[in-house]
């Protein structure tokens, strides 16, 4: 056998998968070393979508930097905005009105549903089931219409404000959404009819991309990717923000940590999100939606400067640094929220001016991409596609 291999001159082949490959969900590039059909080595290259969001926000006021957060994970922009606002509210001690909290919770869960169904559709499409993709986009359209009704945009919403939300929701929105929550469980069953027991789907997903409990923790995975391995960790439950401590929901966990279990986890999350939205609509309080001490849109970037022309340059510097009035309190914070992909964290340092001194985004997709070599090495090339799908990366968030 060995001589045959030698005669045929078999050797390892290095191929570059992406950045224009349709199954990489954006611009992810994987360099794969192949031995026949088996992946020997897998190296992800990221950064094709780097826009420098962290640096850009240092030159903008806190409120003006919010539209940048829409563009982190562009299919669940509402959840990113909420994460950013929650971090700043914790840092500056802004108490959000109760109605705004409920609206935000509804919006975050709508985003979770729309993100998970776009994931389901594209993941199934990658593996070879096309019909689910068509059906899942039907429900997504409904949710995007509701976003448009409220905030005037479908994807880049810029809807939350630091200290509340931008505008109140109307009764038409709530009625349409309530109708959606009544319809949606039937639609989930439809997706499940198509793929849940389908033998091709099972063969492509069961036992593929297994992550053990220890590995999942050590690699820093979060969200459904972690819960698929059987670890019960959800920021919504363990460090509640907005109205999550006032609603009832369960955190679905998997068992085997393979692609199929993560799929089951996300499907259950769809049902739980639906349940949360219903509770929020039923218990929606009536009050204003913006806190009194919320940051104004046209907030000052710096405090009033005292600079006199006849003084020396040195003196001017002293005046600038010492007499500068604070716009906001100083401090630093790490605050995390549960976005559809996992734990999205913001680490913000405030130096008292209206701009962040430093902002760091802990993006779940970036962490999840790093686990790809572990999942892919030793398996077939075809499973690489399933693995990219199952960790649910959005490269806008990964590269920031």
């Amino acid at each position: 056998m060995k001589t045959t291999a030698k005669e045929l001159q078999t050797k390892e082949l290095t191929i570059s998968m992406g950045p224009q490959h349709p199954a990489t969900h954006g611009v992810l590039r994987l360099v794969l070393d192949l031995d026949g059909e088996t992946v020997v080595k897998c190296t992800p290259y990221v950064g094709y979508l780097h826009r420098g969001v962290e640096k850009l926000s240092e030159n903008r006021t806190y409120t003006s930097a919010l539209p940048l957060m829409d563009r982190l994970d562009y299919i669940s922009s509402m959840a990113n905005d909420i994460g950013y606002c929650v971090a700043l509210e914790r840092l500056f001690g802004i108490e959000v009105p109760k109605r705004a909290k409920y609206i935000r919770t509804i919006m975050a869960e709508m985003t979770r549903i729309s993100s998970h169904i776009i994931w389901l559709g594209t993941h199934a499409l990658d593996i070879g089931a096309m019909t689910v993709f068509l059906y899942s986009f039907r429900e997504r359209e409904w949710l995007l219409d509701l976003f448009e009704m409220t905030c005037g945009a479908r994807l880049t919403v810029s809807y939350p404000r630091i200290g509340g939300v931008r505008t109140d929701v109307n009764s038409e929105f709530l009625e349409s959404l309530y109708k959606f929550t009544e319809e949606f469980p039937k639609r989930i069953e439809e997706y499940e009819t198509l793929i849940d027991q389908n033998r091709i789907w099972l063969q492509r997903t069961k036992g593929i991309g297994v992550i053990s409990v220890e590995d999942a923790i050590n690699w820093g995975l979060t969200g459904p990717t972690l819960r698929g391995s059987g670890i019960d960790y959800d920021v919504r439950k363990h460090k509640p923000y907005d109205a999550y401590d006032e609603v009832e929901f369960e955190v679905p966990v998997g068992k085997n940590g393979d692609v199929y279990d993560r799929y089951r986890c996300r499907m259950e999350e769809l049902r739980q999100s639906n349940h949360i939205i219903r509770q929020c609509i039923e218990g929606m309080p009536e009050c204003t939606v913006l806190a009194d001490n919320a940051l104004e849109l046209d907030m000052p970037a710096e405090g009033p400067k005292k600079l006199e022309a006849d003084m020396s340059l040195e003196h001017a510097f002293i005046l600038l640094s010492e007499d500068r009035e604070m716009v906001l309190p100083e401090g630093e914070i790490y605050s995390a929220v549960e976005v559809p992909k996992g734990e999205l964290g913001f680490y913000i340092i405030s130096d008292g001016s209206g701009r962040p001194y430093r902002m760091r985004v802990r993006a779940p997709s970036f962490v999840h991409v790093s686990v790809l070599p572990k999942l892919c090495e030793g398996h077939l090339v075809a499973d690489t596609i399933a693995n990219i799908g199952t960790i649910d990366v959005v490269l806008g968030e990964c590269d920031r």
Partner: protein
Amino acid sequence: MTIREFAKKIFLVEILKGMALTLKYMFTHPITRQYPEEKRDPFPGFRGRHAFVRNPETGKEKCVACLRCATVCPSQCIYIDYREQGDGSRVLEKYEIEALRCVYCGYCVEVCPVCALVLTEFYEYCDYSRSRIYFDRERLLKNWDEFTSKLETDTYFNKFWRPDGIDMKKMPVGKRFQSPVPINPKTS
């Protein structure tokens, strides 16, 4: 393996169930829209093309050159020049919006104290030339005329001029008392 499982396996039960579902949808109405022929009406408040509200009394724009929109703009795509008159009031000399850089967040509409600027519900304005998507003062007024000529109502009010659920005391007077703008196609 029980007989039931075996039967399920050889008769492709789960595949047939899926096929039945797709077959059912063959006899329902399509939910897709044939876009260029079949247009979709955006919801009120959709953030589309920029326009200057034409003041029905003076026939000009309402802008007072306070520079708030230019300050708050996250992509910094609004350029304003003005001169001051003797009494301290400002006269607008240049107002330009570089729409290709705009991110359509609508902050300019929300901070404007006199409700002079609006992101209209008009969304089909792609062009082959950059200069035609670079809106200056006249062009912004023209956008308003184009937008209002297609409106079927007599008045227009953008929901971001005075967002719902926000305490009125936080708003400047010009916003608090802003009534829907009357549209009179003859003056335009």
